[in-house]
Amino acid sequence: MIRVELPGNLQTLAGTGRSVELEVTGTATQRSVLDALEKRYPSLLGTVRDANTKRRRPMVRFFACEEDLSDESPDAPLPPEVISGKEPFLIIGAIAGG
């Protein structure tokens, strides 16, 4: 199980708590985790990454294990601690006030 933590606005939209657990088949990557997230919560389609290009939205960041993974390849394996469920994959709204 991959643990994904969502920012507040997306929790409201998806009707979830802060953390959701996702079953990911194959190697857990940003792409496969986000595919699983959007499949389970269709209302999040287009809110984390562009629905067509699948590129991360400019004001969204991905953190895990105290590292910024935002600019990693979407097909790179996530850290072992995330894959094992020990650490969450964090989807963060870039801090910008408001």
Partner: protein, 371 residues
């Protein structure tokens, strides 16, 4: 007994204000979609239980919602707004070419006849249509690909299509307005568009009476006189009596002819309302006084409506989609401010009360008159 439902979009969620026909005692529900910018909500004239909402965020993009029960419950619907075919440039603020990019839905206009059909005016400017209650959206590309489109430039809020008016007497005729391109009309259901900006003059473009380039802020029409349109431009209030073929200024002695909102009394097609704003630099009301101005002839003679509105130390703005009228008699008039107040009048604007005072900044106000 009739009642009214006022739909309020704010910078941090939506609110629904309800009252009976006396419009004296109000119930406030919300926030809906808390934390999100709600540019617009609007109910279907064909089925008032059907309401569409545009929810957006600079972080998380565009989300669309639909209610089938008058706003009690909501479901997400389609949020894919894809421009059709090749995407050309528009002008950027500095005059350089800038690629089209979808940013958000500014305005939703449900069909007069079919609750499942709804139009969406978007930024960067284009018109979309859904015929399946918001599940999927198709662009009407003839507008965005108009021969003048490369000359369109964004206003301070962006290159937005913010006004959509359907002609109730002619299903193929529709008016739209874009900041800063101007007003356009289709007479063939959106297959082709004609700029309708003759009579407009704008000192922020090199050719002051150019065919396009005008920052139209809002337009309004009374359904009984579909050829008569009223316009609040960046500066100037204008009127046309021939469907936009020619406009003339009716600003008269307004304390400022800059402003955003304009609306028409539901019982009298010649009575209109504006809220003058000091200037494009200041974006607050003149003299610290919040005044609605009413013209009973629709032709340049204005009276200030102040009863119940703050007349000192007031420095709010009223944005372009933040005024609406109900269908009761006397006509109810409603508007929301950047300071989070929603004011209502149940007597044609003669007197006002604050329905709610401390919401997030108001982006839009619509009203439904319910049986």
């Amino acid at each position: 007994m009739s009642r009214v439902r006022v739909l309020v979009g704010t910078r941090k969620g939506a609110f629904i204000l309800g009252a009976d026909a006396s419009r004296k005692s109000w119930k406030v529900e919300g926030p809906l979609f808390a934390g999100w910018e709600i540019y617009h909500l609007k109910g279907s004239p064909a089925d008032p239980d059907r309401i569409y909402a545009s929810q957006s965020s600079s972080w998380f993009g565009q989300v669309m919602h639909r209610s089938n029960d008058g706003g009690k419950t909501w479901e997400t619907v389609g949020n894919q707004f894809n421009y059709e075919g090749a995407v050309g440039p528009h002008k950027w603020y500095d005059g350089s070419p800038h690629p089209y990019e979808f940013k958000r839905v500014w305005h939703l206009e449900p069909s007069l006849h079919d609750p499942d059909t709804v139009y969406a005016g978007v930024e960067d400017a284009s018109l979309f249509k859904s015929a399946d209650a918001g599940q999927t959206w198709e662009e009407l590309p003839a507008l965005r690909t108009h021969s003048t489109a490369a000359e369109w430039a964004p206003g301070a809020g962006g290159l937005c299509l913010h006004t959509i008016i359907q002609d109730p007497s002619n299903k193929d005729r529709m008016y739209i307005a874009i900041s800063a391109a101007g007003a356009f009309r289709t007479d063939d259901g959106g297959k082709s568009w004609k700029p309708i900006n003759k009579g407009l003059r704008s000192n922020y473009i090199p050719d002051q009476d150019a065919e396009v380039g005008h920052c139209v802020h809002h337009m309004a029409m009374h359904p009984s006189k579909p050829g008569v349109l009223f316009m609040q431009k960046h500066w100037d209030v204008l009127r046309t009596d021939n469907g936009g073929d020619q406009w003339r200024e009716i600003s008269g002695e307004l304390p400022s002819d800059f402003g955003f909102v304009i609306d028409v009394n539901s019982n009298n097609p010649d009575t209109l309302y504006v809220v003058p704003i000091k200037s494009d630099q200041l974006h607050f009301v003149p003299d610290g006084k919040l005044r609605v101005y009413r013209s009973k002839t629709g032709d340049g003679d204005w009276e200030a409506l102040t009863k119940g509105l703050p007349q000192q130390d007031c420095y709010v703005n009223v944005l372009r989609d933040a005024m609406a009228v109900d269908q009761l008699d006397p006509c109810g008039v409603y508007f929301g401010t950047s300071g989070g107040q929603v004011y209502g009048s149940a007597d044609d604007g003669n007197s006002w009360t604050s329905i709610v005072r401390d919401l997030p900044g108001v982006l839009s106000v619509e009203v439904q008159t319910l049986k």
